[in-house]
Symmetry: C2
Subunit: 294 residues, 2 copies
């Protein structure tokens, strides 16, 4: 049980975390801050936070748990702003989709407080942003990846695991390099491809007719193309090396399929499609057999 | 109201059509045929068809409505097999995802009976195949595209429209060229990209770890990669010219995004993502404002 959550960024992720923590009776009081005062006020009106703080530093003062739920590009400035409010016993986490860049920001911004920081990535979200969509169930049954660094206190990793398990999530622990490589593959590249696909349609004069005819396959394939532009700009830039590497793997695979099509190799094409179908068919969300080792 | 549906191919599409037609009381009797006698027998046991025919020709004999629901690559042989059973008043339709190749098959296979044929593409499906999954609701609220040719009797286009409207679908009419170009863009290319993406993951040693970490975005983006290999082999080969053309448009768009990433052009990248997000965000399935003109 934490006394006080200092929440920096009262959006979908931060708000959902506050609601989930309250529902699980894991926190007594939530003090929140957002860059926009009207957002902070709205979070208070909605009961997501109990106290609206006028600054990030004041939001974390006295908090034994701090969550940064800001755009990853704002991490360094936010760490610097709160550094002097973080006590020796405070647990600090973020929710960024990329970890190497946030860790670099923490090294610069947190200095001596780095041991308090447990980098976290909850694999959860919605295509809608904002405190209005905050949802105490957002993390239920979802995975949360923790990527502690050498400086991170082991006890803080355990506390972080307990917090996320307490709000219904499954915790995995890995290095930030492995995290960023895996998420380039299964999340960032799909977003890049979906954006590229939609822009490829948009560039054609028949765009509207095409969209009118699109079916359920298109709907699901392109859902992630509706993602938030600033968030995905930051993710794709922060993890660009890994994303571009994954894109190369994809392009090789696309080249191979197109070569089979061009040369009319029906058997080879069927085999390549069957390989994809057999790998994807049985896959289910959250069916990982890995257990957290924290 | 039709007296007798001759159904060639008792799979998901054909079975669903028979069930939907019966429920709408648009047909008195369904005579079915599948290449595999056990499938035909199973369709009869499930009540999808009333009579199991021992050949395609016998299935269409006496039918005033014929539906070909076979793999598109089997179209020509099927048309040839049923040609002599088709009466002057019979309405013949198919359900193929590609239209130019099926029309070519009909020209060769149907000869003088070509006026009976109304090429049809119901934009509906499931990731599971087979008569066991036949569903009277499969076409409810979905679009069906008809691509009549010069030889098609106008009255047959009207009857075809009425049949599909009768089972709850919305009918659009266009040329087969426009159809194949549009579906290359919004259906066939997404499938190709999803297959390539999964195979790109599969080629990496960390494949299993990647899949364990994949979230809801991956789930939706790759759902279509579980498609049936023989069906998609045929579609990608039959419409390869259009699909490869669409892939070029996609690659140009991907190149542009990657160039923005590589050079760190944050504003340009955000703008390109925003363009995709703004186009995809408000899109909804079946929200086309076009009305059928049949």
């Amino acid at each position: 049980m934490f006394e006080q959550l200092g929440l920096i960024g009262c959006g979908l992720m931060g708000g959902s975390f506050a609601l989930a923590l309250k529902r699980a009776k894991l926190v007594k009081r939530v003090v929140g801050y957002s860059k926009s005062p009207s957002t902070t006020e709205r979070a208070k009106q909605l009961g997501v936070i109990d106290v609206a703080a006028p600054s990030a530093l004041l939001a974390v003062s006295g908090a034994d748990l701090v969550l940064l739920a800001v755009p990853v590009a704002a991490s360094e400035a936010t760490f610097k702003a709160i550094r002097h409010g973080i006590g020796a016993e405070t647990l600090v986490m973020d929710v960024g989709s990329t970890k190497s860049d946030v860790i670099e920001a923490a090294r610069i911004g947190l200095e001596g407080k780095l041991k308090c920081f447990v980098p976290a990535h909850p694999i959860a979200g919605k295509e809608v942003a904002g405190i209005e969509h905050a949802d105490a169930d957002l993390f239920t049954g979802r995975q949360v990846v923790l990527t502690p660094i050498k400086a991170t206190l082991r006890s803080n990793v355990q506390r972080a695991s307990q917090v996320w398990t307490g709000v219904g999530a499954q915790v995995s622990i890995m290095t930030h390099e492995a995290h960023d490589s895996a998420f380039a593959a299964v999340s960032h590249l799909p977003h890049l491809l979906a954006f590229a696909f939609i822009n490829g349609i948009a560039a054609q004069p028949e765009c509207q007719q095409f969209l009118d005819l699109a079916g359920p396959g298109f709907r699901d394939f392109t859902r992630i193309a509706a993602g938030e532009p600033t968030l995905w700009r930051d993710v794709l830039l922060a993890n660009r090396e890994q994303v571009l590497r994954q894109s190369q793997a994809f392009r090789q695979s696309l080249d191979a399929l197109e070569a089979l099509m061009s040369s009319g190799q029906a058997a080879g094409l069927e085999q390549a499609i069957a390989a994809a179908s057999q790998l994807r068919g049985p896959w289910r969300l959250g069916s990982s057999t890995e257990s957290p080792d924290a």
